[in-house]
């Protein structure tokens, strides 16, 4: 059963997943006339903490994203709690405590930057780009450029250490 469901849920190819995400952006426009973005809901959370009734569409998009991940994991038979960050952690410190500290710090930097920039990979990179926003094009080029350069630098430094 588990193997069978894992087979159905082999990695969804980009030419299916991409258009589906595009349709989600269109769907939000069609139903609510709202932009799509993950960070906006988290901004709502920190701004209106403790006042659940005031949470609006962005926060429910963010909540749904968590549920969607859970739904996929359950249906594909891959749900399970783990503290492991996987092979993606290769460049992070090996010990759990310093790895978690590093992830928290990286998150803090991301949150600060995303709010300053007015959006993240989904808000600017997907939604804003699709609307032809010049600010989003600028933001997306900037964060991709920065992250690609730094990722190569980290890999280079890691190779030097060995």
């Amino acid at each position: 059963m588990k193997e069978e469901s894992a087979m159905y849920f082999a990695r969804c190819p980009w030419y299916v997943a991409g258009p589906l995400i595009g349709l989600i952006i269109v769907g939000l426009r069609l139903t609510l006339n709202r932009p799509f973005g993950a960070a906006g809901g988290l901004v709502e959370l920190v701004e209106r903490f403790g006042n659940r009734r005031a949470l609006g569409a962005p926060a429910f998009i963010a909540l749904g994203t968590v549920l969607g991940g859970a739904l996929f994991a359950v249906l594909s038979g891959t749900f399970g709690f783990t503290w492991q960050y996987g092979a993606g952690a290769a460049l992070l410190p090996a010990s759990n405590v310093s790895q978690f500290a590093m992830l928290t710090l990286a998150g803090l930097v991301m949150g600060y930057g995303a709010r300053m920039a007015g959006g993240c990979t989904s808000g600017h990179g997907l939604c804003g780009m699709s609307l032809g926003s010049r600010a989003s094009v600028l933001a997306t080029m900037t964060f991709f450029g920065t992250a690609v350069l730094l990722s190569s630098l980290f890999a280079f430094l890691a190779a030097q250490q060995q």
Binding site: W83, A87, C120, G125, T142, T146
Partner: protein, 151 residues
């Protein structure tokens, strides 16, 4: 209520699809950022093209939003310095965590609890930037404006 439910449904769809496409796996993001695989770039490109066509069709037909009855329209901000500086900062964090706010949320749903540390950091960073912006310009950021910050 209907608004929140609709948002929840689309959010769930998004979380499901990015988990299915393995975007919630930091290794996939790491490979993308090292330009070792094109899938995520292609995925984003395909999403942008479909969304760009779709939303323009809705606007061209003068459609009204099904739930809220708003006329379908949008405005975009003029590019400014904060878009660049904020995105450099965001890019630095992204390159270390190899995940960003959307995949981070779906990752937590999948049971990958290390994502909670990223999330704690992101929430703190969002709050910190809000506080810093308010201190610079005390009247600039009401709660409503703040929640509409993200494009």
């Amino acid at each position: 209520m209907k608004t929140k439910f609709t948002a929840l449904v689309f959010g769930t769809g998004f979380g499901f699809v990015i988990a299915w496409a393995r975007i919630t796996d930091p290794m996939v993001i790491r490979r993308m950022l090292r330009l070792q695989e094109a899938d995520v770039f292609l995925l984003m490109g395909a999403a942008i093209v479909v969304a760009a066509i779709g939303v323009r069709l809705l606007r061209a037909f003068g459609a009204r939003a099904v739930v809220t009855s708003d006329a379908i329209a949008w405005t975009t901000p003029a590019p400014a310095r904060h878009h660049v500086i904020g995105s450099v900062i965001f890019g630095i964090g992204w390159s270390v965590a190899a995940t960003c706010p959307g995949p981070m949320l779906a990752m937590i749903g999948q049971g990958r609890l290390a994502g909670l540390f990223v999330a704690a950091g992101v929430l703190a960073g969002l709050a910190l930037q809000g506080a810093a912006a308010r201190r610079r310009m005390p009247t600039a950021l009401t709660a409503d404006q703040a929640s509409a910050t993200c494009v």
